[in-house]
């Protein structure tokens, strides 16, 4: 089993901080009246960032709506991400995807707006990898809400029957929009459903970046060696609301005490502490990383704001391949 080396841990930490600061920046922009659709990553930075750290550049990611961790984790420049969510032509989708982030060069395969639409698409990417014999893998992220969609059943069965190199990662943050999943989901551990497809189901502490990395690394190795999919459930919590419009997440549909409990499990603080314990870096060094990340996000904001919108002509391009 490959444990994360120092370089990997540093990268994970740095990317998690970037994601957090990106969300902070978007919070501020939204509050100042800039229109950005945001499903904040806050509290969930560990899973998507650490999972992507277990991939090669040529491996694929099927993202989902929550946050930016999979984008920055897979190597996206925050400038390009910021420009896209602001609808600018310098964004990764030419300003037409918005939060539906995609980047072919990073193999970020497009984030659907319809929950779980991408689960079978991910299975098909896996099938394609098998046909092309390229030995890549595809990570498919989704949330506990989407886990009840029929497409999850269909997509997992397809991936399993094809023994496709797919790793399914469900971030269980306990709520779908304003609804607690105890009201909607028949099992405590969603990963138990893996049994129904004859694939391994793994539960991991989603706020422990290194535990996530280990679990995903193992699943990726298994997929690459031709043994087929794994279903990883990451237990986590969103510290913000569903979107920036969510005014009910503190004491509304969930108790304040619950949020405060999870604040203590903040994945960035936990990783920071762990890095210091492991003597991989000093506090001063980590502070420097934080500061560099802060500058990078400032530059991203500047780049996004200064970038032009696509032209009217460009808005109507790319409906078809010419």
């Amino acid at each position: 089993m490959a444990k994360a080396d120092q370089e990997t841990v540093s990268k994970i930490y740095r990317n998690m901080v970037l994601v957090r600061l990106f969300d902070d920046k978007v919070d501020g922009l939204v509050a100042s009246g800039v229109h950005i659709t945001q499903h904040s990553t806050r509290g969930q930075e560990a899973t998507t960032v650490a999972a992507c750290a277990a991939l090669k550049t040529t491996d694929y990611v099927m993202p989902y709506h929550r946050g930016w961790g999979w984008a920055i984790g897979k190597g996206m420049d925050p400038k390009i991400l910021m420009a896209e969510v602001m609808g600018k032509r310098t964004g990764c989708c030419a300003g037409k995807g918005g939060v539906h982030i995609a980047d072919w060069s990073l193999r970020i395969m497009g984030r659907p707006g319809v929950q779980a639409a991408h689960i079978p698409i991910g299975a098909g990417v896996g099938l394609s990898i098998k046909f092309r014999k390229t030995n890549e893998v595809v990570l498919v992220f989704f949330g506990d809400g989407a886990s009840n969609e029929g497409n999850v059943h269909e997509g997992m069965n397809l991936a399993a029957v094809w023994k496709a190199p797919v790793v399914f990662i469900c971030e269980n943050n306990l709520y779908a929009l304003f609804t607690p999943n105890v009201e909607t989901t028949s099992v405590k551990n969603i990963a138990d459903r893996a049994q129904g497809y004859g694939i391994p189901g793994v539960v991991v502490d989603g706020n422990d970046a290194l535990a996530v990395y280990d679990a995903v690394q193992q699943a990726v190795q298994r997929a690459r060696s031709g043994l087929g999919p794994t279903f990883i459930e990451s237990k986590t919590y969103r510290l913000s609301g569903h979107t920036s419009m969510d005014r009910f997440h503190l004491g509304g549909y969930r108790p304040k005490e619950e949020v405060e409990e999870w604040e203590k499990k903040d994945p960035i603080l936990r990783l920071r502490q762990r890095i210091i314990e492991l003597k991989m870096a000093t506090e001063a060094e980590l502070n420097r990383v934080d500061e560099e990340a802060r500058q990078e996000i400032e530059e991203a904001e500047k780049f996004g704001k200064e970038s032009p919108y696509p032209t009217r002509e460009e808005i109507f391009q790319d409906v078809y391949v010419d």
Binding site: Y60, C93, M109, P112, H118, P120, G124, L127, D318, V321
Partner: protein, 324 residues
């Protein structure tokens, strides 16, 4: 040119086989695709092995998987056994395949997938879950192309072109056409998507139609000829893009328009054709338009009753005569 007759099913199979021999990225997916109830893909597994994939019953799933495979370098041809089942796959087709490239900002994101929507149309009591004509449903989505061949020659030329297209193409097939024979040259050819074809030239009225109803329209035109009405039968072949030019040109010549299709009238293909003529060629018309279409009803699962809800030859004849 060597002439021989093939059935519509054989012609599609031959088109698939020729393209699969040339391009190993082409894979076939669908329920029971190896033996195949429609016979279209029967026997291809013997030549192409694991490129012919029997899928589980999961239309949304395997249609979505085809999108994923298409995005990453394959050229999947999916069979959906009946149009009725496309409603399970509607998200994969209309929300994903159609919009993927645009949402990702173009570039290297392409979805070269063909959805063969088999077994269209009403016959033998197939009823409202195995006998609808739903092609009009999907012409509403930019990003998709929709074709529906009415002859073996057109079917072969269009399936080959659909496979070579870098966009998602819905290729509809009618269950009553599979056994219909027609001349198909042995030499290779393809047909462009988006071009209608005049199947019978005439000067008095345009009957715009396609698929199985094309054959009814041709019979109707034969009957009308005996009564002194010279009908032009325009086979649309492609429903998105629609060959507006051919429609307008024909109506300009004849001054009268009747549309004929098997799907229901409201929001149907005929509605679109009539709207095009109203917008861009109203001045050519010297009589009201007529739409012959499926009844605003549910298709009964009854071999006795199901032809009552879809247009027959006499319905087309009657509609034409009403505007003379």
């Amino acid at each position: 040119m060597a002439a021989r007759e093939l059935t519509y099913a054989d012609a599609i199979r031959e088109g698939l086989r020729e393209e699969m021999r040339k391009d190993e990225r082409i894979i076939l997916l669908g329920e029971d695709i190896k033996i195949n109830v429609w016979t279209v893909t029967r026997g291809l597994v013997e030549e192409f092995g694991d490129r012919v994939i029997n899928t589980p019953l999961s239309e949304s799933g395997f249609s979505g998987a085809a999108v994923g495979a298409a995005l990453t370098g394959m050229r999947p041809v999916v069979e959906i056994m009946y149009p009725d089942f496309t409603l399970y796959a509607a998200d994969s087709i209309a929300n994903q395949a159609a919009k993927y490239r645009y949402m990702c900002g173009g570039g290297d994101f392409r979805v070269p997938v063909v959805f063969r929507i088999a077994g269209s149309g009403s016959s033998g009591g197939s009823g409202c879950h195995h006998g609808q004509s739903l092609e009009a449903t999907f012409i509403h989505f930019p990003g998709l192309k929709v074709v529906f061949a009415g002859t073996p020659y057109d079917a072969k030329g269009l399936i080959k072109m659909a496979i070579r297209d870098d966009n998602p193409v819905l290729f509809y097939e009618h269950k009553l056409l599979y056994g219909v024979k027609g001349v198909v040259p042995e030499e290779e050819y393809v047909l462009p998507i988006g071009k209608a074809d005049v199947k019978r030239a005439g000067k008095d009225v345009t009957i715009a139609t396609y698929a199985w109803t094309l054959h009814k329209a041709l019979k109707a035109a034969g009957q009308l000829a005996k009564e002194g009405i010279d009908a032009e039968v325009l086979d649309l072949r492609s429903l998105r893009p629609l060959d507006k030019e051919a429609i307008l040109e024909s109506v300009k010549k004849t001054g009268k328009l009747v549309t004929a299709e098997e799907g229901t009238k409201m929001g149907g293909v005929g509605a679109e054709i009539v709207a095009v003529v109203a917008e861009e060629g109203l001045q050519y018309l010297d009589a009201p338009v007529k739409r012959v279409a499926g009844a605003e009803s549910i298709i009964p699962s009854s071999a006795y009753a199901d032809q009552m809800v879809v247009p027959q030859v006499e319905d087309i004849v009657r509609a034409v005569k009403e505007i003379f």
